[in-house]
Symmetry: D2
Subunit: 244 residues, 4 copies
């Protein structure tokens, strides 16, 4: 069967993937394998993508935009943040450890949160108009638990979450092979998992569709959601229930 | 200060709120008070809204669209589901018990999940094109934990989650008054909480903006995300990493 | 290899298992199959066990000890609560739906919480001196997420959680067979999972050991943890940091 | 009112507290203030305590006992781990960021998990016989969510969790003062919170009682829970349900 092609033009969009693996380069990351599936689809449609393996970078720990102003010698986050702001799509990917997101994934969420007080020129949080997704790999349990936290965090700081914006792979309960590990028969673990493949594909397309729709519509309309206006006294038809 | 009005026309949109309180009518629900703030804004802009207090209804427990086909005498869900499908916006609201969502909130998530295999005429999950939000009240802890689960569940079955799609009120750690309870000075608990008021307002507007944008754009474009097409063999540029 | 037997005498202990499945009897419950492994070990050592499938019972929804005093016609919880109080061990078992505990599991947690204000004759919460565990089955994801909430809730109301007090079975990511389902080769899904078998066994023994130790030692010593004493003004060497 | 003293002798016990704050010394940590309440009670009863602020240490990120064997130049964890093994009580304390544990707290959980394959001389996981607790501070939401993950992780690697083993302080929903911050009237935020004070006191005493009980009883009895024995073929009355 041949895919009936879409004629939607996604060129001009940009996407950034973070990989919160605890494994430094050049050792391979299982999560990278899943990222590549999504990245590949985006690339085929003219979307510029980049992948940042956070543990390879000197990203400081903390909740300020630039930690060199708070006692850290180095901090690559301010530079990376420029890439986040340039991107229409952010995918936070990572491994599962003891059923939860890695400390590297948490560190990135903290740094995104640290920048959530920055406003765009309409007075909305700076991440408004962008879309977010999540990819998780582990050997046995926790995709949804991890994705729940990632997607919640992204929408909290201003990202839009399209339908079915997460995907992942885990094996049966207990220790076992990880995503893409060699099987005895020469195939790779998880690559034939229809659910993982479908969800990764759907997530990718929904991110693309939602990012394009938001871009074409000029982002989330700026009314009722501008922090600057609220702080200045606008209430956008909010009525205190005490006085209604 | 006067609100500068928006000229966006939201009439024609519909919203449904579920309240997962454990308190039966006619006793008041604290969560209802927060719902009314959001509902009021929507109503002022011509959106038709309805609120369903689930514990007042004969909604069966289970993971099938109609539980009368699975051993239950009564099940009002199939009727309620029609209202869910007619609505462009769904807000799942509820209380916190022991830091987590109530069993009533979980029951509604189970019933929504039960219907997630139903497809629209493009082959997408039936909830595609709709937007979801979350309102939580409690006396001390757990808004984000509860919202994390609610919003994750809604995006999983096909809802789009706009930015900052949750709001809530809790008091300081420990037992204490609930939202809207009388204070000694005649005011009401939480009604003067700027964070709760702002987040509820922003959530409401973002749901409205995203619902309108999706409606005006004909929903999420149907390419790369149709279950029927995937099952028929379309792969939408997904490439098995083993063969790339 | 033959088990070297233990000479510890566990007779006199009692255990209660709750099964939060959404499936009514007489249809089989996958979770029941895992419960039976644990129950069987306990029975072999003279522990009296009972299993309650909550969806078969008329257990009201709410956060009071007896909901017939709060608008419900029937409520079997007060009777079931007697069994909880008579038991030294409580295991809260259940299925995974959309990555989380079922609404039936949440209902039982709410009812246990509703009884957490009841004190024993030393002034401790009534569940002190008892031990708690958790068993979870699903087809693909969420054991740890579900167990996290169950075990947290049990310790919060007074249960002691011994080491490795949870176990479960899930299959690879995506829809698939459930625990104990027939395989084509005549074996049963999950029954040969060494991790599930080991964890279920370890959980069971740790519950037995901890329950016996607590019973032999007269429960958790009553000093520093009596709600009645605290409310009467005892502070047990707590010093307000402001005045230290 | 005077405390009636306990005559239980806790001397000989040791406790270690980890503080997962993102703030480096010498800046004050809000979480430290809560730790000191618990530490103070223990010290008064002859328990040797130590507090490690993890962000001040060169603790590598990863899931191996010694990361210098895996590409890291420095790693203080192997030295810190000796202190963990010497302690009968471990309290994992930390702040809340975006409703979840900090990346520093996650890093410590990863390192504890990395050591969970180490066995004691009975073949049990090395953390068996120790007890664990949790202290959380934040300005608005998330004590239970954070504690849920911490306590689950600790029991998973072998710690016993006594009743009510967590405590914390958060303020009302929204940004606001943190624990111990100065109020205008000269008092400190949260220090008069009866719930926080009581829970911190109860947690501390329950950790002390459970640690002493386990020590006096020689730890968790070694039968049915020895990884070495299971791997060698012992089954401790586990019966495969397929053959029962």
């Amino acid at each position: 069967m041949v895919d009936n092609n879409t004629d939607i033009d996604f060129s001009g969009l940009k996407a950034i993937f973070f990989n919160g693996t605890l494994t430094k380069s050049p050792e391979p990351s299982h999560t990278d394998r899943l990222i590549h599936i999504s990245q590949n689809i985006m690339n085929m449609h003219g979307i510029k993508t980049s992948v940042i393996r956070t543990i390879d970078q000197d990203i400081a720990t903390g909740v300020w935009p630039d930690m060199t102003e708070h006692g850290w010698e180095k901090d690559q986050w301010p530079e990376i943040y420029k890439g986040v702001m340039a991107a229409d799509v952010l995918v936070l990917a990572g491994p599962i450890w003891l059923g939860d997101n890695s400390s590297e994934t948490k560190k990135i969420i903290e740094r995104l949160y640290a920048c959530s007080s920055i406003l765009n020129d309409k007075g909305q949080y700076a991440f408004y108009g962008k879309v977010g997704g999540c990819l998780i790999t582990g050997n046995e349990d926790g995709i949804k638990h991890c994705a729940m936290n990632v997607l919640y965090s992204l929408q909290h700081v201003g990202y839009t979450i399209p339908p079915q914006a997460d995907a992942g792979w885990i094996g049966e309960a207990g220790p076992g092979p990880s995503y893409g590990d060699d099987r005895e028969d020469g195939t790779k673990e998880g690559y034939d998992n229809d659910f993982t493949n479908r969800n990764t594909t759907f997530m990718t397309w929904n991110l693309m569709h939602a990012a394009k729709m938001l871009k074409d519509n000029g982002g989330i309309p700026a009314y009722g959601n501008q922090r600057s206006e609220w702080d200045a006294g606008s209430r956008f038809d909010f009525a205190n229930p005490e006085y209604r």
